[in-house]
Symmetry: C2
Subunit: 312 residues, 2 copies
Amino acid sequence: MDVAAQLLAGDVAAGARAIRWLDDQDPRGLEVLRRVYGATGRAHVVGITGPPGAGKSTLVDTLIAAVRAGGRTVAVLAIDPTSPFTGGAILGDRLRMSRHATDPGVFVRSMGTRGTHGGLARAAYDACLVLDAMGYDLVIVETVGVGQEEMEIVALAHTTVIVTVPGLGDEVQAVKAGLLETGDVLVINKADRDGFEQTRRHLELMLHLRENAVPQSRKVPLLRTVASRGEGADELLQALDTHAGQLKATGEFQGKAGRRAEQHCLMLARALVLRELQVTSTAQRLAPVRERRIDPYAAAQEIVADLLRGPR
Amino acid sequence: MDVAAQLLAGDVAAGARAIRWLDDQDPRGLEVLRRVYGATGRAHVVGITGPPGAGKSTLVDTLIAAVRAGGRTVAVLAIDPTSPFTGGAILGDRLRMSRHATDPGVFVRSMGTRGTHGGLARAAYDACLVLDAMGYDLVIVETVGVGQEEMEIVALAHTTVIVTVPGLGDEVQAVKAGLLETGDVLVINKADRDGFEQTRRHLELMLHLRENAVPQSRKVPLLRTVASRGEGADELLQALDTHAGQLKATGEFQGKAGRRAEQHCLMLARALVLRELQVTSTAQRLAPVRERRIDPYAAAQEIVADLLRGPR
């Protein structure tokens, strides 16, 4: 059996290989993707994000247990864009999730900047398609909530979960404010800590303001969890299922998957044209600019005119 | 007299107008740039960067005074990429520099994210050319040292000054470590503070390591300033002049200006092709992807193939 067929049958080694091929932009990866694409669009894609120290990995670990207890399967992509290597916290996460390591219904993969030629967001979208085609019921994408690339990653989800903890500083409050705009489910983790009530009231106020600003918006559940003791995981899964149900009832589930495919395509197209531009912009081609015989604007226009088809 | 001629004569209003036109990508801006480009490549472009709170603006203020005391002219671009508006600290900077407001030998302009269509780095490169053409002896680009866009801005300088202060935390140490790699002059500002000696020893060790790692590298001066009292500004200007002299003696002064033009051109070309891609990628063009009738890779290849000229 070839990789595409094995992958469709849920073979973990085949899935990992396809993800690696796509990371490397190996043509075999594109071929596999073309063949399995018809099987995608079914998984419920959940983005989980929040500041460092919010306990996201532990929360994901308990969420995995809850999903498995109900008999469904789950794949996790743990993404750390700040890491040039897949190390540090991500390796720690892996170990923490290792109690699921022998469970064939669970797939966990970490991604850092290394080995993702042409962007972490693209790699995340690619991997998400592969996991979807493998038949996992849920695909969870976990990422630290900072930066534009991560917001792009979060945008791929059907359901976005924002995780925070009591008593974070002002800086994190600002991050939270931005993230709140995209959140479908809000979680206060480590809810047994001092300051829980204050954080809850603060977030409720923000949700209230948001609901007033966007009248037709869905009510965002605010959950409390203590992931280290497994508390609240069932309620979180319930909230995810409720959200997926709402999306399916309104056709948004397919709509969001469609927009994700669109974003993925545009991301790939941007990378392709920029690569072509780079190939065109040789040292020789740039010599007149470097020697100041032509201004940068005029030179850029010439280079781009050479690269692009004229009007037809 | 038209804007280009006025600008070449050093007219501040004409310079400000040209910068605004370029910000807006108004065709008149490109026309002005084309006409004044021959007059560029003469200014000594100095990048000043460092963490928030390092006192960069006060340092620039005292540096302006030192430059003016020697009879030369100076323009300052104060850049804050984190600000969506040209407000906050930047407005404060403006006020602080206002003692030079009536001096025709000084030009200060602040830039935030707002009003810079297509990127702050591009706007900075554009403005730098205009100020160069206006005949300022020094063009100082001041920016907070974080993020990729700012590193791109710093890369435009002939001479990069890294400013730090005694007793910053670990997080800033990491930023500093990255910045140290690109620094030509190192300044410890607020040098009358506790912890100066420790910071000095720490930085000297880092410089020593860097010199060992890159044997042919120039010795990086490590200066102490107390900008709030004007201390050390003359020594900083002296270090800048020494560096410019070294660059001129080896031909690197023109070489760096050439590479800056190259980077500027590539930045503009990237923006142009991405804009063309965006125009091409209509909702209609993306419908097959959105409806999952074609996979994102195949669709991206088709879109890009349509956009680009084939091999000739």
